[in-house]
Symmetry: C2
Subunit: 397 residues, 2 copies
């Protein structure tokens, strides 16, 4: 007799949503498809030669600890280094405020795990990072999206009035995924004021902050309030994603809870990779590589924008972000990028439908374009194909 | 105003239990303490020189993919290799039955996540692996322990009769942690018969199986029933724990659900580490290294047993396992190893209290001793100190 899996699934499993990206992208993985879909960094930014040297050093000098189990909190040296770097950005923290996670996706997941009970509400952006929404849903949360920061207090008040006070506000203040928008300091203050007034926790998810092409850094939310902000960082966009190293910065009491949750999740983050990364920082290689990455991605953004200007039919709008990895594109009202996707895939070009980033199913006329991964030539060819598909769609109706 | 964390914790967080090992061991980390507590493999078994070569190769030949995001299912080559290895042990599987996890702890965690709803029951051993219990508790499950395999059907029937049919049976058939016991083929058949009769899922957690000092391998549960068994494996004991690489083998329908859960947990397992491990297997280095590891640990077990025979006071009993990393020690009834721990730590020797492995709080007169990590000399000195502490305790009362 075969087991009936459906019959024994948990309530959590039933509320998990398969990634829309994932399913759409199974088609996009064909080599003839030019994919602007993933959030992949460019392999040209991977510090391969430096890693060759560092890995030999780690194996030579610290294999006994680097290949062994490590502390759940993470590599002590790496936590010191990160604490130092964030102190320079105005955070009042020590390494005890830092937990190394297995990617910043795990930071989101563990946070959901310790705070979300079934039916809880979360306030997030419309649009917002799909992987965060997936995590919230997997714990049976109800994410409520706001289109403008100004709506925050109204929504929070309404939720409180209906007995559904949000567990936290989830934000990506720098080069938001997918919109590319960065919150200015006034908006940051406003979010923190609302959090303070209504006694709320704020998540500052910050994978792109370091990748700024122009303009001034805005202060980290955590530097403006170290009592009720959790800050998530990652190496996946700035150095490489293949190590799966991220971190949480939070008040110690929260770190303490996350550590217990992490123990039963995977005991500790990849230990060897952490040792390599600690040395990578110590040698000053991070900043050197980052500035080259920024130059590369600035060029790629410029190129992408110029291709958009050259090929896109009238009525299509797009952002011009000061950093990050994505353009966010808006078609005229009434068009559905899910339909566009089918046309585009026949033209051998792929993107992510904007709807996937909208927790309420809105944003049907939007899509996200990654500019960090593809080379110049294929970028132009891909935009040309995409423009053709859009043109076809706009003129059909 | 500071945030009141307690006030916003999830129901899950409230049911999480801090690892007893962890807290006890914060004392045991002092260098003067001889610790038999952790489940640490011996660093002498880490294939450092081979890794030096392989890591250079990976960086030279496949850095573009090995440093990038990887598929949630895991490295395709590694999954092929594992499928092939398990087919040789009688499993009817393909790579589509395999998900690479970030350690086998994550295999336990994701399985709990997709199957456990609050209040669900699980049947496990008394004692059983602490990390699994922690994961079950973190999803608000109620693990029910059985002392002998013969009790399984009685307990399952009783649970079903009270409307609490267990979600799965959790077993460690080879060199059980912490008891060291291996189930013979008759007992394996019995477990599967009960599972079949009452339509239950069976977890076969198998971190130690390959480390067999003598005697014959018993068939894997999965090889006896591929419809309702999930098999968990890991590299942490056989090669090294610092990579955090484990896997789940299961019917495809379950793998599919685990993949969705893993997406929102950490997207994918460490990608570089997987590429290294795939090459490590391909070069035939796994089996070569494993046979040296087995020889080393056999000697260490023999030495530990001879020290126990030499120093332990009368009334103390211990197992002589055919494999794995642990001895399980029993004091006369009525003694509490939590008290012993305090005495032992003054003598600068540490172990894990057996109670931590008993989901019902029993096993107070037991303790677990690791023999894989410590060198010969310190093992003897440690056992001498432990024997002294036990002697003191037995003679005090």
């Amino acid at each position: 007799m075969a087991l009936d899996i459906q019959n024994i699934l948990s309530d959590n499993a039933k509320s998990m949503r398969r990634s829309a990206i994932r399913d759409l992208l199974s088609v996009a993985n064909r080599p003839e498809v030019i994919s602007f879909a993933g959030g992949f960094p460019n392999p040209a930014t991977f510090p391969v030669e430096d890693l060759k040297v560092i890995m030999q050093e780690v194996l030579e000098e610290e294999s006994t600890s680097a290949l062994q189990y490590g502390p759940t909190e993470g590599n002590g040296k790496l936590r010191e280094i990160l604490a130092e770097r964030y102190r320079a950005q105005g955070l009042e923290i020590t390494k005890d405020n830092i937990l190394i996670t297995t990617s910043s996706q795990q930071a989101i997941d563990l946070t959901s795990r310790i705070f979300i009970s079934p039916g809880d509400t979360i306030v997030c952006g419309l649009p917002s990072y799909l992987g965060a929404l997936q995590s919230f849903w997997s714990y049976q949360a109800n994410p409520i999206g706001i289109t403008k920061d100004e709506e925050l207090e109204i929504v929070v008040k309404a939720l409180i009035a209906t007995g559904k006070k949000p567990k936290f506000i989830y934000t990506i203040p720098d080069f938001q995924n997918p919109s590319g928008v960065t919150m200015n300091v006034e908006k940051r203050k406003m979010v923190l004021d609302v959090a303070e007034k209504y006694d709320l926790l704020v998540i500052e998810d910050s994978p792109y902050r370091e990748i700024r092409f122009e303009g001034e850094h805005q202060p980290l939310l955590y530097s403006m309030n170290n009592q009720r902000v959790m800050l998530f960082g990652t190496l996946s966009k700035t150095v490489l994603p293949g190590f799966r190293i991220g971190w949480v910065i939070a008040p110690e009491e929260i770190i303490d809870r996350l550590v217990v949750a992490k123990q039963s999740s995977d005991l500790c983050a990849p230990v060897f990779d952490q040792a390599v990364v600690a040395r990578y920082f110590q040698k000053g290689l991070f900043d050197k590589n980052l500035s080259k990455t920024i130059d590369l991605y600035r060029n790629k953004r410029n190129h992408m924008i110029s291709c958009f200007e050259k090929y896109m039919p009238k009525g299509v709008e797009w952002t011009n972000p000061e950093g990050g990895l994505f353009l966010f594109v808006t078609l005229p009202e009434g068009y559905d990028t899910r339909e566009l996707f089918d046309v585009a895939i026949k033209e051998n070009v792929a993107f992510v439908i904007g709807e996937a980033f909208h927790c309420d199913g809105s944003g049907k006329n939007t899509l996200r374009i990654n500019f960090s991964f593809m080379d110049q030539e294929r970028t132009e060819e891909g935009v040309k194909r995409l423009a053709k598909a859009i043109d076809e769609m706009l003129n059909k109706s």
